[in-house]
């Protein structure tokens, strides 16, 4: 595939921004500075970056409980994101949503979601809306291997296929639903095998290879944009950290050796090596990008912590829209 240097560097930037956002967020949670629980995206960055590289602001996505990465890749603002994690009134959701509900409708991000499997039905609604209004917008629905066992996924996939909706289902198969390994939650190896049961194409790609994701996602999104209907793209990836928070090593449900094996295939390191080899981004440049991202994150954290908590009077606001 012929991809411009600009596009490659753009994907690299998205991945680095996610990673940096997550590393710092994780520490803030572990130290108790950020309340609640965070589900970190570290290790899975190539999926969000490779998919989102094809999307416009007017395209929509639905996300999961592990949603920061999606919002960062869709163009989310660090300040409003961190302010949300800190529960401040300057956050994307005015502090009412927190990590599990982080969203920006204006960016077409229809919400991180605390209910596993809640995204697919919402995604087909947005896709239907695009079709109804005769736009060529596309909706991408992110969901996990665990979520693929929820009835909602099934219903949405079937409806998308029968209505030929412009939606792409992207399964982030990180091999686990919480502590349960895929082989113990389903008798298949590829979630993509389910696609044919709905009458849509299903594809499996290496989710640690941003180029592979980029290529496959590009095809699926283009098909949807052109009225060719939905498809299912499965990205095999891995969660470097724990289900919630950082740890991730020395846990009962997986061997450290497995984690370390996957970490050797860190999507960012691999991509940087490739870009460096091809002379498209030097190690020095890459380091600079990491530094800039970290500076931005620090600035965002400072902004968030300096922001006020919502006033008690905000409690009952935003429950309903005033109809005029």
């Amino acid at each position: 595939m012929n991809v411009s240097t600009e596009a490659l560097r753009d994907m690299h930037l998205r991945m680095v921004r996610i990673r940096t956002f997550e590393e710092e967020a994780g520490k803030l949670m572990e130290s108790g500075r950020v309340p609640g629980s965070l589900h970190l995206y570290v290790g899975e960055e190539a999926v969000a970056a490779g998919v989102m590289a094809h999307l416009r602001d007017s395209d929509q996505i639905t996300s999961t409980h592990r949603g920061h990465g999606h919002l960062v890749a869709k163009g989310g603002d660090f300040k409003q994101m961190y302010a949300e994690l800190f529960g401040r009134s300057t956050g994307y959701c005015k502090g009412k949503g927190g990590s599990m509900h982080i969203s920006d409708l204006d960016l077409g991000m229809l919400g991180a979601n605390g209910i596993v499997g809640a995204g697919p039905p919402i995604a087909i609604g947005a896709a239907f809306s695009n079709q109804y209004r005769k736009t060529d917008n596309v909706t991408v629905c992110f969901f996990g291997d665990g979520a693929s066992n929820e009835g909602t996924f099934h219903e949405a996939a079937n409806m998308a296929a029968v209505f030929k909706l412009p939606v792409v289902f992207v399964c982030e198969n990180n091999g686990f639903g919480e502590f349960t390994r895929q082989e113990r939650h389903q008798a298949i190896q590829d979630v993509a095998d389910r696609a044919s049961g709905y009458g849509m194409p299903g594809v499996v790609v290496d989710g640690m290879d941003v180029m592979a994701v980029y290529e496959a996602a590009g095809e699926a999104i283009m098909r949807a944009r052109r009225g060719g209907g939905p498809s299912l793209l499965e990205c095999k990836t891995y969660r470097f950290y724990d289900h919630v928070g950082i740890r991730g090593l020395g846990v009962a449900y997986r061997d450290d050796s497995e984690v370390l094996e996957w970490r050797k295939r860190d999507p960012i390191t691999m991509f940087e090596r490739k870009l460096d080899e091809e002379g498209l981004l030097s190690a020095g440049e890459a380091a600079g990008i990491h530094e800039t991202a970290l500076a931005e994150v620090r600035e965002a954290i400072a902004f968030a912590e300096a922001s006020p908590f919502p006033d008690a009077s905000a409690l009952l606001e935003d429950v309903y829209t005033a109809t005029d």
């Binding site: 929509q60 639905t62 956050g91 994307y92 959701c93 005015k94 502090g95 009412k96 949503g97 509900h101 969203s103 920006d104 409708l105 204006d106 229809l110 919400g111 979601n113 605390g114 209910i115 809640a118 697919p120 039905p121 919402i122 995604a123 087909i124 609604g125 947005a126 896709a127 239907f128 809306s129 695009n130 109804y132 209004r133 909706t139 009835g151 909602t152 219903e155 949405a156 079937n158 409806m159 029968v162 606001e317 935003d318 429950v319 309903y320 829209t321 005033a322 109809t323 005029d324």
Partner: protein
């Protein structure tokens, strides 16, 4: 919002009032579509969408697979991205199948997102027993939804209310659950031809009276009017109030009435224990305690699933006789 309660002009059935509302709303606003199981080609098993496919075509009147979670999601995602969907869940009993979508997604999206979402979504469904449809096709589950911040809930009591409340629900920029009643579908009443709205959140005093207040929900409104007639024969002047909207609930109108009559009961078809009648009774005694001459009564279904066998079902579902008897019991107690 101003309410235009237009002049009645002709008799229409409840079912025709609903479908007229759908048709007129869809003519007015191209962002409205209707989706649900067998609403298009079949015109809905209750007939509420008959004729719509022909007029508006399959783009706007959509038969869906039997996938209630998908249907609510279809409505939610479309509402969040600028459309004004009406989605149909055939029987209210099936709400359990898509409860998460209604309660955790539809109701909470706006709040969780800090207010950014506007969700003009109408969820239409049919409730109530009386047709020997047994335990899974006869329930009245409005209490569940009234307990959920972010939703509005209306329960029309007749054809006039069915049209006017539907119009208000669809035009509202919030998720509204419209609960129509199966047995009432053939009921006839004066219904204006034009589009009119009945304001959400405003109760209606259907029959003014001075001795007793009956707050009647949905189909219990006509039953309570019958009961009031029966009681009038005893020389009792009963006021009947139709809240029309259960969430938000018009406490003021009810309390005002009870301050005048000093006695009240709430009547609904739903199971008595934990029904919306409990909330209304609790509010009445909170707000009108010093005016009450007797405890607030409640008429509702007994604590069992809805039985199939006609004599059992008749025993199960409250009617005018039971409402009247409860009024008498409350008054008797007081003596």
């Amino acid at each position: 919002m101003t309410t235009v309660e237009a002049k009645p002009t002709r008799q229409l059935s409840y079912v025709a009032a609903v479908s007229e509302a759908f048709a007129q709303l869809m003519r007015e606003d191209p962002d409205i579509f209707l989706a649900g199981e067998d609403v298009a080609l079949g015109g809905s098993v209750f007939g509420v969408s008959r004729g719509l496919l022909k007029e508006f075509g399959p783009e706007r009147v959509i038969d869906t697979p039997i996938s209630e979670s998908g249907i609510i999601g279809l409505g939610l995602g479309a509402a969040a991205t600028g459309l004004r969907p009406i989605v149909d869940i055939m029987f209210m009993d099936f709400m359990g199948v898509c409860m998460d979508e209604i309660v955790n997604q539809v109701a909470k999206m706006k709040y969780m997102f800090g207010g950014k979402a506007k969700l003009p979504l109408t969820i239409h469904t049919m409730a109530g027993g009386g047709g020997s449809m047994a335990a899974q096709h006869s329930q009245s589950l409005e209490a569940w939804f009234c307990h959920v911040p972010g939703l509005k809930v209306v329960m029309p009591s007749g054809p006039y209310e069915a049209k006017g409340l539907m119009v208000a629900a669809v035009r509202d920029d919030n998720p509204v659950i419209v609960i129509n009643n199966k047995v009432s579908l053939r009921m006839q009443a004066d219904v204006p031809e034009e589009l009119y709205e009945i304001e959400l959140g405003r109760a209606h005093v259907v029959r003014p009276g001075t001795n007793f207040t009956i707050v009647a929900i949905g189909r219990m409104v006509p039953e309570s009017l019958k009961a009031a007639e029966m009681l009038a024969a005893d020389g009792l002047d009963v006021e009947v109030i139709d809240p029309r909207t259960l969430q938000p609930f018009d406490t003021a109108t009810v309390v005002e009435s009870v301050r005048k009559t000093h006695r009240a009961l709430v009547a609904h078809e739903a199971v008595r224990f934990g029904g919306i009648g409990a909330e209304i009774a609790a509010q009445i005694q909170e707000e009108a305690f010093d005016y009450l001459d007797a405890p607030v009564g409640r008429v509702g279904a007994p604590f069992s699933p809805v039985p199939f066998s006609p004599p059992l079902e008749k025993e199960y579902i409250p009617d005018a006789g039971r409402v009247a008897a409860e009024v008498r019991r409350i008054l008797g107690k007081q003596v």
